[in-house]
Subunit: 341 residues, 2 copies
Amino acid sequence: MREVAVVGVGMTPVGEHWNVGFRDLAGDAVRAALTESNVAGIDALVIGNALGGTISGQNHVAPLIADYVGMRGIEAVHVEGADASGGLAFRYGCLMIASGAADTVMVLGVEKVTDVVGSGRGKALATMLDSEYEAAHGATPVGVAALLMRRYLHEYKVNLTGFANFSVNAHANGGKNPLAMYKNQIKAERFAAAPVVAEPINLFDVAPDADGAAAVILTTAERAADLTANPIRVLASAVGTDALAVHERTDPLFLTAVKQSADRAFRQANLTPDEISFAEIHDAATILSTLALEASGFAGRGEGWKLAAEGAIMPAGTLPISTFGGLKSRGNPIGRKNCDW
Amino acid sequence: MREVAVVGVGMTPVGEHWNVGFRDLAGDAVRAALTESNVAGIDALVIGNALGGTISGQNHVAPLIADYVGMRGIEAVHVEGADASGGLAFRYGCLMIASGAADTVMVLGVEKVTDVVGSGRGKALATMLDSEYEAAHGATPVGVAALLMRRYLHEYKVNLTGFANFSVNAHANGGKNPLAMYKNQIKAERFAAAPVVAEPINLFDVAPDADGAAAVILTTAERAADLTANPIRVLASAVGTDALAVHERTDPLFLTAVKQSADRAFRQANLTPDEISFAEIHDAATILSTLALEASGFAGRGEGWKLAAEGAIMPAGTLPISTFGGLKSRGNPIGRKNCDW
């Protein structure tokens, strides 16, 4: 296996981009990444996108985008895994480099979700759940997260206020990110009083759906050293899965898929949670941040929220998270995520 | 790069499976492949599917299917590229083995399209085209193929009857395939008189939409030798792209993406078209077979149809194609294809 490194990054602002289309967002991110890097050419394009077919009526995005960004003829592929689409695309790009199938790969995450509003949006987002056993009964992703949070509050005797700092931290960091969707600050004392979205989850608790694109350029660690003074080496990439429907999981309050992937990544990198300086997790709702921190080995069962309550997740803490504003403040373009840096 | 081999194959019958769901079809193919092979375990699952989100309201199929087939926790990913979804999944599986990321990979193609009928089906299939410049104007895949065929007939002064043997051959072969959708035979003299679907394409010219699943198990060539007396070595796998919208292509009658991928594969395998004993191509309509044979290097420009007219594509010919019945007789489960053997 050849070692992999990141040599270029490009991102669009995140928000409600009603004035531009899916392909335009993709193009902006690709051009920004190319401008930042010094690569002479790209061998392959891997696209992470969750809802192009469902919301924009556009499947088959790989050749479309490859052509639109001036790479007609290139190897191009679309990978999908709901919120993990961007991460899965990054993983594929790494394997292309590692295997020798490509020397330089563009990984692109792109999502355009705000063109559909109201119940259409909810229905589209629900295609990421189990269609027959969750979506068919009206469940949506935030609805399922609300069930998990309700159970967590009951199980561990925690109050909603214990989660406030996840959002306070996200907005504090997002205020410094020029690409963030919401740059306003959130006060901890106002958190629990925000309007309810899906009880107990409220408006200050859950990330806004958004449009955006992000691209990274990967190459071999060897080539990277010639291209930039500061390549980012990829020490590990791993994927885990669990039952899709939450009610099928042995223990709904433990994200087994996160544990699987984290364990695999730590093993590949020969590192432990204690050695990590900062982490970016799937923070679309504060309960998901909590559960991800627990399953990744950064906190014990029932104690993930304490990393927020005690300030450990803040920039000066022991494990900063949501450093770019998180999905809460920066905005949540479903399948673009994990291409963010 | 490690060499890759196929050590197990499983397939469902192809047809209108109104009595079973998406996940059931997947399960049947996976179990059949496991039964045929002697592998001890599977490291990863790669799924090719084109229209699960659009037709079944089911995105995020990788963890869903992994769990349903008894592989909860495994690395699993969904790749999409319209009709090429199955082939792209196969390619990803090969790269996982080649890179060392996995020793044994299950590649699954699965599609359930017949639950939607009438204009809903056409709209779903049209998501595989350019949504803004083709689908928005009412184009469908068969409609676009009809435009290509009209132009081809004009350009090369050929009659529709010249294409008859593509379908005659497909049905002759499909009649011997117990999994085929239509086992009836087609007579050449009846071909041009069949009811019109999208003029000049008629009912005997174009493949029927269908449901089905197919799975193959990949491992290293080294391990394969211990598992089976007859492993199938993968000598090459490659991907090419072109402008998605046909009107954007420099030369609509030449499938540049097919040429790109064929050239790359021939180069990897160090082979020429003359050395190929039989070929399986994307034969969803006879014009597509014709153009694919030309772009792959098996026939000159304007001469692909002659391989059918002169019988070269038949079992006793120099380049048999559609040996399993092709998409025309076996049936066309969009994203399952290229997992077929």
